[in-house]
Amino acid sequence: MEVRKTYKLYLNGEFVRSESGRAYRPDGNVNVPRGSRKDLRDAVKAARTAFNSWAGRTAMNRGQILYRAAEMLDSRAAQFTDLLGGGAKARREVEQAVETLVWYAGWTDKLPQFAGTVNPVAGPYFNFTLPEPTGVVGIVAPEEPALAGLMKRIAPALCGGNVIVALAPESTPLPALTLAEVFATSDFPPGVVNVLSGQRKELLPWLASHMDVNAIDVAGCTPDEVKAAEAAAADNVKRVIKVASDESSPYLITAFMEMKTVWHPIGV
């Protein structure tokens, strides 16, 4: 007899039930926690607490941890293929998710050389611009592809040094919740990645309006949801990231980042 798994939220490095005690059954069988507004607030708090630790890592270290996540995911490829319905298409999606992690793992220590500049100001100053993480990023990934789609947004955001509160696709949450197990075993400090399952309409408005969330990626939102999220985001001038959901590029990494310019006089 099979030992079934209890699916849980991934909050602050721990697997927990929703504080609300609620669950829903997206596929009619498996119980999935129905995260609440309070769970979301806890996730944001955990992420904020983890921010300095993650953003303060060396780019090399962040790259190694992202690569470690790729190893963990690849080693469980069969499990994820099953979760995605099995077959060649599912297998390809898992490979794509692994590839995304590997690709962005290699960007961590190259991005500042791609996006940063030394600026030839007209005066005796040394002046440079470097990308820095925006902070706490909310991610609403598309429902499909449930694994690769989410990875395409989480990986660049993490690559840039951000901390994440991701909403699992409402109708297909199992790959996202299982992916949390990959992050949990990849040496990310607790709270760097948080994954919440539940109803989009219960969580998205609070994610979009939360005053301690710096950016929200709406790749998986409907036009109406985008509009509502953009309006709510204005309360704290949140960055709303609307880059196409299949994008993979350093430009997407910088969408999750701020440019900081530093001046210093030159003199004896």
Binding site: T117, N127, V226, A233, V237, Y251, W263, H264
Partner: protein
Amino acid sequence: MAITKKQSAALAKQVFEYAPAPESIDHVKIQPRYGLFIGGKMVEPHSKKHFPTINPATEKKLAEVAEADEIDVDRAVKAAGKAFESWSHLAPSQRSRYLFRISRILQERARELAVIETMDGGKPIKESRDVDIPLSASHFFYYAGWADKLEWAFPNRKPRPLGVAGQVIPWNFPLLMLAWKIAPALAAGNTVVLKPAETTPLSAMLFADICMQAELPPGVVNIVTGAGKTGSLVVSHPGVKKVAFTGSTEVGKLIQKQLAGSGKKLTLELGGKAANIVFEDAPLDQAVEGIVNGIYFNQGHVCCAGSRLLVQESIAEPLMEKLKRRLSTLRLGDPLDKNTDIGAINSRDQLEKIRGLVESGIQEGAELYQPECQLPEKGFWFPPTLFTNVSQSYRIAREEIFGPVLSVLTFRTPAEAVEKANNTPYGLSAGVWTDKGSRILWMAERLRAGVVWANTFNRFDPTSPFGGYKESGYGREGGIHGLAPYLDLN
């Protein structure tokens, strides 16, 4: 022959007054009434309404400018839309030449522009002459060179212009903000509808004349004057594909909300409450100059002003002493006088706002210091002000005052300085003063602000990206980064 003791005492008592050194205004022609710059010429507004713009140092009316209504804004956007078809297809090298030409004319007409800027806005002539106008010209010069090099700026992308850019700018650096907006927009191949601030429209009107002088194709730049209502019409017009706003965080949030779901590309450059942090090993005399420049430059009407001074406790006393002494030498008065350090407050409204916040500082228990300072009878003035004994929770430590008012707080450790500096919803700029290089870099890494000035303050350059973290807005202006907001890179 040595001077006698008596003579020396007499000399010490003598006050050496500055002789007045006013910049002449006779070569500047301000028209009694301005229309709107639409489709390459000045046109009468459909609204038939005009409003006065005054000199804040004298309260005298300088001119009347048009108040653009919905139909006026629509005409401007349509003119820009029509011009976009040809401008975006013009050989990039030709676009480049127009921008170079504008830059040169700005340099040639620098004095006229500086005088108008000072008369209309109240800032000291030495600032408009040495900062605003040269930087405006160099901004056009910098972006002129980008116009035909865009494909080199974004590897693996084919940059395309967005269309009509709707741009709304503030009154603190009228021409410079115009340059920050228009230069990259045109270089990228967009056309623009720009709305200057209602209290400082004149340099934009002069810029309209410069566009005509440069024979810029009609409709590439359109300038509509008016107040907030006109600005709102510009940003919400469906023909506008890109919105750029510089101004208060309050209005920025309204615009972000207003544009929700519109698909328009938006950049915001909003308010700030910058910390200027002085460590005990800092060269104090230089730091004092930096503090003064940080908060009293342009009467403190600067979004990135160093309005919170964080001083390491061990040097708080000597630094305050030096700072107070320096404050007493600042010359407040006629903005057209070349020796003036502090000009007029931009408007009566702004003066009221500053007074209100200063009053709140006194009420909440902060200690006020103002040097002896004669304020002219006419016009809007506020003396350089500093508050000590300020707690982080006071309004004067949290809210943007946008005036010559400095709040002084102290700290003991670098970590505490970072904590206090970042304890604000804003994140536009920060300053660090220390002789220790490793500490500068350590601080610069941790300060959540878009610009960090180390051992200097309030420096600007067209090659240097400028913009905020958090509620200070998003997007960058200046440098290669300043091109991206005006391009479709997908």
